[in-house]
């Protein structure tokens, strides 16, 4: 290879006491796809934010085409030809594709914005790189996959030779992922240097030329992708495999407690519920696996009365769909929410007050509208002790607690209500290993005490470690149900990405059936934009939908 286009030398970046990157070095060559692999929090995004001028490093050097450079604003990065597609797209929904692409470097005619030139420039780029998208479409009306193309066009328009993608496939449908990987290869083929941040090993092996693995802010290794296998990469990425799975006896499932039948939303799209069937039994942990954005959040919101849906949800045989949240809680539903700061706690209120947040209005905590501080403190103290919540006092704002202790408080609070059904959504997000193990033990204990536990997680490891039964959520439906013995990462992964969906698909079209249906929803804005996905929708959207429903109902 020739000389690297970008060379990072000993980059260090700190946030307060936290070291996000420590002496990271990395070379990037024209025409290569360089995967940056690491767990959440390993420092991948921080490193790339340094390279694109969003963050300033505390130490180290960046060389561009051999010369040291200072990149202290995104503008400088763009001028050098370094562009990044962020995980959360930075697009302006009411603007057109062309406007989004040229913003900040607009073609002019005199003092005026030259709209036609902008449109032509975008059209030329779409043709040159095979990124079909209509320059005049409103970005807000485009599917996620199309929006990603707009992001790519934005940096190509600025003449980028280095393209950085931050977890680009996290939000894509499997079909879109395939298209995206093809685009990556095409871009590399035209001499662009590509950084591909991900923690999905399969994608790395599919497209990357080289892989750099980060762990705790440090480079573990850089190696050619050819010859690497998933096991090797995973080990380097995670380090010593920590067995978090608690010892657990086989489940003794009781009767069905919570039952969902054909729960669907009016809206369509990848993340919309499209007919969920699920029967949750007492005394079991049902693990719902799936890629983020396949209906997990809507499902939780429907179960807790925060979103309307059609179909039937029964708790102990009684219909509960459409009941207010309070009634659901009183009937024994409990939620361990995904985002504890946003959904689980009132940060400015005290530990004690948060400890009774979901039963503040019941005796003994309130009598004739007046709170009973002594009773509240007593209940809180019990939770704090039983669940080992480390807090200086019950009166401090709950914001003062660490994430793990906050989570323990939430779990303790919900356990104290003796729930019949516990929905745990990403219950270990952002927790350290000790706290994770605690959460796992508690969930198993809940199960053993006879509660029905619905564990919704994006982490397959977590599902495999805990679940007594595994369902896979994809495109707003449960596409497969497996016993843990029959489930391995590979099989579940296939279902998660929709490719395992063969048995429901139309025989003639094999695996693309499920994808096409989902695209029918997501692709609304693209029809008429002349791209291939749009035509696929037109091809066989409607007929498959009914097939799918029948298959779903029959399960």
């Amino acid at each position: 290879m020739a000389e690297p286009i970008v060379s990072l030398r000993g980059i260090t970046k700190r946030f307060g006491d936290f070291v996000a990157n420590e002496a990271v070095s990395l070379d990037l060559y024209p025409g290569e796809i360089h995967a940056l692999l690491g767990e959440n929090g390993a420092g991948k995004t921080t490193l790339m934010n340094v390279l694109t001028g969003l963050l300033r490093p505390d130490g180290g050097e960046i060389r561009f085409r051999g010369r040291p450079v200072r990149i202290d604003s995104p503008e400088v990065a763009y001028r050098l030809g370094i562009g990044m597609v962020h995980q959360h797209f930075k697009l302006i929904p009411p603007f057109t594709v062309a406007e989004n692409v040229v913003l900040g470097a607009e073609p002019r005619r005199g003092l005026l914005f030259d709209r036609r030139a902008a449109r032509e420039a975008v059209r030329a780029l779409t043709e040159a790189y095979g990124l079909a998208v209509n320059p005049d479409a409103r970005v807000g009306a485009l599917s996620v996959g199309m929006q990603q193309r707009v992001e790519i066009l934005k940096i190509l328009y600025r003449g980028a030779d280095v393209l950085i993608f931050d977890e680009p496939t996290a939000v894509l449908t499997p079909q879109e992922v395939r298209e995206f990987l093809a685009i990556l290869k095409r871009l590399a083929g035209q001499g662009k240097a590509i950084v591909f941040i991900t923690h999905k090993l399969k994608e790395v092996l599919a497209v990357a030329d080289r892989v750099t693995i980060l762990r705790h802010g440090r480079v573990v290794d850089t190696l050619p992708a050819a010859g690497a296998d998933e096991g090797l990469l995973a080990e380097k990425m995670i380090g010593r495999r920590v067995r978090l799975a608690p010892e657990k006896a086989p489940a003794r499932p009781g009767p069905v407690v919570l039952e969902l039948r054909a729960v669907r939303e009016r809206r369509t799209g990848q993340d919309a519920l499209a007919g969920v069937d699920l029967a949750l039994r007492a005394g079991e942990i049902y693990g719902l696996a799936g890629v983020d954005g396949n209906g997990q959040r809507p499902l939780v919101e429907v179960l807790f009365g925060r979103r309307s849906a059609e179909g039937d949800v029964r708790l102990f045989g009684e219909p509960i769909l459409g009941l207010p949240t309070k009634a659901l809680l009183e009937r024994g539903m409990a939620l361990i929410p995904e985002d504890r700061h946003r959904e689980g706690l009132v940060l400015a209120m005290s530990v004690a007050e948060n400890a009774i947040l979901t039963r503040y209005d019941r005796p003994p905590f309130v009598r004739r509208g007046i709170l009973r501080p002594a009773a509240i403190r007593r209940a809180a103290a019990e939770i704090v002790e039983r669940f080992d919540v480390r807090t200086p006092s019950l009166a401090v704002p709950v914001a003062a607690l660490s994430g793990g202790n906050q989570q323990k408080l939430i779990i303790g609070r919900e356990v104290a209500r003796r729930p019949a059904v516990v929905v745990a959504f990403q219950p270990t997000r952002g927790l350290d290993i000790g706290a994770q193990a605690h959460v796992y033990r508690t969930l198993v204990a809940l199960r053993d005490a006879g509660a029905a536990v619905l564990l919704i997680s994006f982490e397959l490891d977590e599902i495999l470690a805990l679940a007594d039964r595994i369902g896979v959520l994809s495109g707003g439906r449960i596409v497969a149900e497996l016993a843990p013995e029959a489930a391995d990462e590979e099989t579940i992964g296939l279902y998660m990405t929709g490719r395992g969906d063969v048995r429901h698909g139309d025989a003639g079209r094999g695996d693309s059936g499920g994808d096409a249906v989902r695209r029918g929803g997501a692709g609304r804005g693209e029809v008429g934009s002349g791209d291939d996905a749009g035509q696929e929708v037109a091809g066989h959207g409607g007929a498959d939908r009914t097939d799918e429903e029948k298959a779903g109902d029959g399960r």
């Binding site: 604003s73 990044m84 962020h86 009411p94 913003l103 934005k154």
Partner: protein
């Protein structure tokens, strides 16, 4: 009948000119993401400085030119107040609404304080004579039947307001700057990653909004009241804000809404036009802009969407 129509049109323009300035000013600010609650303050400041400086220029012997000088100077009052609002909201991330309330407070207090200071404790500036603006007829057009006199024998501020509307439209929708301004109001992070100077643009937009809105205040002082007192603006800034919302944050929409509200306000001066109009208490007419705006906001009339990042103080860096 046509005479009455011409009269109504004329009075509508007279009363809406100030609102048009206010609404266009507010639009620039809000399109860049900064809530324009301080319009009332900008207009108050503009009216004060216009009245005070016109009087001073009059005394210095500038005659009718005083009004033009005052019109120009008034913009600085608005710009200065807007600078306070911009500093608070953009640099110090103060809540936009609170900062707006503060600026309104500040403008009202300071302008009356200065009036009393400069004019020996009087509650208002001395009434202007030759320092008022007078109507300018546009040759040819002014003689058109029915509408000619109303449209083309107007105060120079009215022509200027029309220019401001067209200018704002051209700026927002046909220049790179306008594209960036709107981008900043919709999604500042996106704009920032593309090298758009978010803060600088916001400062510019807010200061410009203050200057333009101040012209509205100056219009009232120099064409209608002839002086400045606590009652000169009295809520017109809020009507301008209402017009901007009613006009869906678009220059033409805002101008149309301002014309409508101006007509409503102006109507009370022409109630003699018809007996049924006389039966309506003036209070009902005064209420109209506010009540209508509420209907719009409540979605009972039609929907309008504000810039997505309006009022946010938490964006990156």
């Amino acid at each position: 009948m046509s005479a009455a129509f011409g009269q109504l049109l004329d009075i509508t323009l007279v009363f809406s000119t100030a609102l048009v300035f206010g609404a266009v000013g507010g639009l620039l600010s809000e399109r860049a993401g900064v809530i324009a609650l301080a319009l009332e303050g900008y207009m108050t400041g503009g009216a004060f400085l216009a009245a005070a400086s016109a009087y001073a220029l009059e005394r210095l012997g500038f005659g009718p030119a005083s009004a033009y000088g005052a019109l120009f100077l008034s913009m600085f009052a608005g710009a200065l107040l807007a600078l306070v609002h911009a500093a608070a909201t953009v640099t110090y991330r103060a809540d936009h609404v609170v900062s707006g309330v503060v600026v309104n407070f500040f403008a009202a207090g300071l302008s009356l304080f200065l009036v009393k200071l400069f004019f020996a404790g009087a509650g208002q500036t001395p009434t202007l004579r030759e320092g008022m603006l007078s109507r300018v007829a546009i040759p040819g057009l002014a003689d058109l039947p029915v509408v000619g006199s109303a449209l083309f024998r107007q105060y120079p501020t009215t022509y200027l307001a029309a220019l401001a509307v067209g200018g704002a439209y051209g700026l927002l929708y046909h220049t790179p700057l306008g594209l960036r301004l709107r981008a900043v109001g919709e999604h500042p992070e996106a704009a920032e990653t593309l090298g758009v100077r978010v803060r600088r643009l916001r400062y510019g937009a807010v200061v410009a909004s203050g200057a333009i809105a101040a012209l509205g205040g100056a219009t009232v002082a120099l064409t209608t009241t002839g002086n400045f007192s606590h009652a000169t603006i009295a809520g017109q800034g809020f009507i301008a804000l209402a017009a901007m919302i009613f006009g869906r944050w678009h220059p033409f929409g805002a101008a149309a809404a301002a014309l409508f509200f101006g007509m409503a306000t102006g109507l009370k001066n022409v109630v003699q036009l018809s007996p049924w109009a006389r039966a309506i208490p003036t209070e009902v007419i005064y209420m109209l802009p506010y009540a209508l705006t509420l209907l719009v906001l409540a979605g009972l009339a039609f929907r309008s969407t504000p810039p997505a990042a309006l009022g946010r103080t938490d964006e990156a860096r």
